[in-house]
């Protein structure tokens, strides 16, 4: 039996009472397939559960390779989840929904225009004023006669569910800063790759034209005075719930992803800090809630927005999408009045119903809510389900509602439709909701033909589904849009704000730090495999020296006989300073905050390192250390390929600078830990050989010195030989080129001067003579290395001061004030 037939048989079985009947997305009550699925049947019916499971595995891998994450509130980022079975809607069924969504968005826009303008809805008594006045999203700073925006709503989203009859109902409107469209695109990208035949057969609407239209809408929304508008995507940062979605949208649309600290208010307009200059910003697609967008007039102390933004918006010097006041629409208190508002503002009946909702500020509705607390979901008008409201018993809820009735609504629980969903036990029906997106394009509102579906059962992390809206005729244009210009090879113009440069610099440093530590671990582990049981041989002594280098770079709480524990901790313990795990974690954080600037290939490196870590945690053989470290190294080295393909812009130069500084530091520490003491010919030879290997210069050395390993040659090759790309000299030359190409370069900036000093010191030192021994020690070498380390650290600080210096953080007037 195939998965779909099994599913069909199971859901058409008469159930023994209990659950209320639900609309099934695939199978009609008589057991026949729904029209949309009938068209897919040929390909879809043949899929067995095993096929689906394989597809599910492919999806997981693709999503991991693309680094797609979702961060539930107050939790760490986790993988984004996508079910292999799409939600399929055929053209006949979609068409009335599309009309309803367009009307609804037009209505929401009209409501917004009215509430921030004439307030006819309130003065006429159609909408009880308290619903608006008590809502946190009603921003009085935007409700001024001086600030009239004819179309404040450019992109809206709605969450829909189906009643048992199959009727779509709106569960909630999203108007502030709707999220999810990036996830919807990513879902489609993955599904089309893992089920190519089915995808091709289906004849569904591709989403790309909608994105093109979105881009055009954003550019067109710029204030009329800008001939060449600059659009940015304002993100609250990488810790945000939907950080991936934001970065995806920014890079797909070709707009820079910025944070509040990258922007500044001047002359009543918003500017972006770019290389110490200010560049005007015309349009802000915001993913920061309005309340946090302006620490001057909205939430005091917020660092997520731009101080003064409300003023710029009122003056019309910048367009914020959606307008700051749009949050007032995310208000379930509006739902009972939608019909009446539609009649008043649009003069037509409401097409798309909302889930039955009762606003408790109305005395009759309040009585109904209080009498039906068991059967209704209680929500506050402005905080979703409210903090912990779902945990209150009926008595507490009653108290809350009676105390402040205008702040609460009761909503009927829609049974929701069900859709086959793959889980660990097989394919089962799960309740599904649909998020739709509607865009103002030209003079009309156009819903995305598609969407983002969510399924959840009680005990699992929610998963998503791709939404397939089938074309009526194969020749129908995608999204019904024929006139949009394709996005030709859009790449985010480099938004080289100081924050981005700083993240790039650290990306370089952590990539190098991870790589160098991996090489040291591989070298030390190989030595341990040979000599761990023979501590008194030359090899055993050399192993101890290598472990002292490890301890110098990464500390150690392990004794000499806990070698494998030590290696594992170096690879896996993210809390150990200097460990590979810590460097990779920090590298990933840096990459995430500049995700829009990096190739998607970047994320494959991390899926390599993650798989290697997982293996190492599972398998406890010693050789797994070498194997996993090798896989991690492969992943980290692939980042060199990513940077090789980058534009030679300041971001790329900062990665290179970061790498070169870190490489120099790691090298000097390695040499200081291993070569400044003389230990006898055999031990020294082993140590020197290991150092060459850890510094990735063993092959070069063999070619140049024919296997004759002596310290002067090693130092020459690792410090002074500019032709060895791993040498300090080569790193200095590399940095010199990078720094000279930075826009701030004058030839005499502090970093450039420090670099010149370092180069001079290296030139002056006769490297071979640094190996001179006094007693057991090499004091000249030790002094030289210590000096280099100090200079490299100062150089790193100076690069930060010159190239990443942002403005001080904004604070309120009279902070820490003494009143006289």
């Amino acid at each position: 039996m195939t998965a779909l037939r099994d599913y069909s048989a199971a859901v058409t079985q008469p159930t023994l009472g209990g659950d209320p009947p639900r609309y099934d997305e695939v199978v009609a009550p008589d057991g026949a397939l729904r029209p949309g699925w009938r068209r897919l049947a040929e390909g879809a019916v043949q899929l067995t559960e095993d096929d689906l499971r394989r597809v599910g595995g492919d999806i997981e891998r693709f999503l991991a390779n693309d680094g797609v994450t979702y961060t539930p509130a107050d939790q760490d980022p986790g993988p984004w989840r996508l079910d292999p079975v799409p939600l399929v809607v055929d053209a006949a069924e979609w068409s009335p929904l599309e009309v309803g969504l367009a009307q609804r968005t037009e209505l929401l826009n009209a409501i917004l225009v009215d509430l921030y303008g004439p307030q006819r809805l309130l003065s006429s008594g159609v909408l009880p004023p308290a619903i608006v006045f008590a809502h946190q999203g009603f921003l009085r700073v935007s409700a001024r006669a001086s600030a009239v925006d004819p179309h404040p709503l450019l992109l809206a989203a709605a969450d829909l569910g189906r009643a048992a009859s199959g009727e779509w109902q709106v569960l909630a409107d999203r108007a502030q800063a709707p999220s999810g469209i990036g996830y919807a695109m990513e879902n489609r990208r993955v599904i089309s790759r893992v089920m190519p035949e089915l995808y091709r057969q289906a004849g569904l609407h591709r989403m790309a034209p909608f994105f093109q239209a979105l881009r055009a809408t954003l550019i067109d929304s710029a204030p009329a005075s800008s001939p060449n508008p600059r659009v940015v995507v304002l993100s609250p940062g990488t810790l945000s719930e939907t950080a991936y979605d934001q970065a995806f949208v920014a890079s797909s649309l070709g707009f820079p992803l910025v944070e509040g600290s990258d922007l500044v208010m001047r002359e009543g307009a918003v500017w972006m800090r770019v290389f110490g200059r200010l560049e005007r910003v015309d349009v802000i697609l915001r993913r920061v809630d309005a309340e946090w967008s302006d620490s001057l007039e909205l939430r005091k102390g917020s660092q997520l927005g731009v101080a003064g933004l409300s003023e710029a918006v009122r003056r019309g010097t910048v367009r914020v999408v959606n307008g700051l006041g749009a949050g007032v629409l995310e208000n379930p208190g509006l739902l009972p009045y939608m019909s009446a508002m539609c009649e008043l503002l649009l003069d037509e009946p409401l097409r798309l119903p909302s889930v039955q909702t009762y606003w408790a500020g109305d005395p009759r509705s309040a009585r109904y809510v209080l009498d039906h607390l068991d059967g209704l979901v209680v929500r506050t008008i402005d905080q979703g389900s409210g903090p912990g409201l779902e945990h209150h018993g009926p008595d507490r809820l009653r108290e809350l509602i009676v105390a402040e009735p205008h702040r609460y609504v009761g909503q009927e629980l829609l049974p929701l439709s069900q859709s086959p969903t793959l889980d660990a036990r097989g394919v089962h029906p799960q309740a599904v909701t649909l998020r739709t997106f509607t865009l103002r394009y030209g003079s009309t509102y156009r819903p995305l033909v598609g969407g983002l579906a969510s399924v959840s059962d009680d005990d699992r992390v929610p998963s998503s589904k791709d939404v397939w809206v089938l074309k009526e005729r194969p020749e129908d244009p995608d999204q019904g849009l024929v006139d949009v210009l394709p996005l030709t090879n859009v790449r985010a113009p480099a938004a080289m704000v100081p924050r981005v440069l700083e993240d790039m610099f650290w990306f370089g440093r952590y990539a190098e730090r991870a790589e160098d530590m991996l090489r040291l671990v591989l070298t030390a582990h190989a030595s341990a495999e040979d000599y761990r049981s023979r501590p008194h041989t030359a090899g055993g002594a050399s192993l101890a020296v290598l472990m002292s280098a490890v301890a110098r770079l990464s500390g150690s709480r392990h004794t000499a006989d806990q070698l494998d524990d030590n290696f594992r901790s170096l690879l896996l313990d993210a809390h150990r300073p200097g460990s590979v795990a810590q460097s990779i974690g920090a590298l990933r954080d840096a990459a995430q905050s500049v995700r829009d600037q990096l190739s998607p290939d970047t994320w494959q490196a991390f899926s390599w390192t993650e798989r290697a870590s997982a293996h190492l945690s599972t398998y406890h053989y010693s050789h797994q250390v070498a194997e996993s470290a090798g896989q991690m190294l492969t992943g980290i080295l692939s980042l060199q390929g990513v940077t090789a393909n980058m534009m030679r812009d300041p971001g790329w130069r900062m990665i290179g600078t970061g790498r070169a500084i870190e490489r120099g530091l790691q090298l000097c520490h390695l040499l200081a830990a291993t070569t400044t003491v003389r230990r006898g010919i055999d031990v020294d030879r082993d140590v020197n050989t290991a150092v060459l290997s850890a510094a990735e210069s063993a092959v070069t050395h063999r070619r140049r010195y024919r296997g004759y390993v002596r310290l002067p040659g090693v130092l020459e090759l690792l410090l002074a030989d500019a032709e060895n790309p791993r040498s300090l000299a080569a790193g200095i030359e590399e940095m010199r080129q990078h720094l000279a190409a930075m826009p701030e370069s004058t030839g005499s900036t502090r970093p450039e001067r420090l670099l010149d000093d370092l180069a001079d010191e290296l030139d002056r030192a006769d490297v071979a003579s640094l190996a001179v021994v006094e007693g057991e020690n090499r004091p000249d070498l030790e002094r030289f290395l210590t000096s280099c380390i100090g200079q490299l650290l100062r150089l790193a600080d100076a690069v930060g001061d010159v190239h990443f210096a942002g403005a001080p953080v904004p604070r309120a007037f009279g902070f820490a004030t003494v009143t006289e």
Partner: protein, 301 residues
Amino acid sequence: MTGDEPEVGRRYRVSHRTTYSYDDDVSDSLGIAYLVPRELPWQTVGRSELTITPTPLDQTADVDYYGNTATYFQVTEPHRVLDVLAVTEVEARADRHSAEALAVPWEDARPAHRPDVPDAWQAQDLALPSSLADQTDEARAYAAQSLTPGRPVGEAVVEVMRRIHADFAYDKTATTVTTTVDDIFEKRAGVCQDFAHLTLACLRSHGLAVRYVSGYLATTPPPGKERIVGADATHAWAAVWIPGDGWLAVDPTNDQLVNDRYVTVAWGRDYADVPPVKGVIFTEAKSSTLRVEVDVAPVTD
């Protein structure tokens, strides 16, 4: 007074200087000032000048949601002292209310219950809780003693004002700008701003609409003493919606109805809507001092 003859008000020259000093350079100050008094049926505003030093690159006056003048400014030259000086000439008269309007039962002065009154829908905004005037159970119970069934609204409101004046001590050290209604009840003390917030919380919790009003009170020197320039202060009080007859302004700090010695600058839901000066600075400075000087000088020609 018959009410027919044109009333002559008192004229004042109000000078209000706010000075912030910092221990390091401030590269950028953005601010909003509510310092220009409102033009009102009972108040005429003459010359009004707002002078900010250093001179802002950008200074723009706008009318906010409640009809107040809000001045936005940005100073972008490095500075260690920011000085905001408002000088205004204003003529204030007493706002009169008809005895009939004040005699309606307080229950009928709740805007949510008066769809027949044209501005009742708008007044509902000011019957809702606001962040600095939390409608606590204590506030509700406190006001309930005066809001007995059917009692005329004027009488009930004046009694609440009297009681707040009697029950709460004026104490500058008791409170800060973040003081809550609970704090005021606990300390049984506060300043004018706290008493205004308390009045809002008490009356709004019963459905009355009340404005927070910010302004000045002209002080009279003790007999035989010269008026001391700069000894005045900013002031705050509350005004209650009276159906069809505007807003009844009461000053719980001084236990009196607002009269021609009061200059009205701005009103809103609470202090946070209309602080005289607020702003954001960009600086590495570690500390700052604030100095406020207010002078309300009578003008006689």
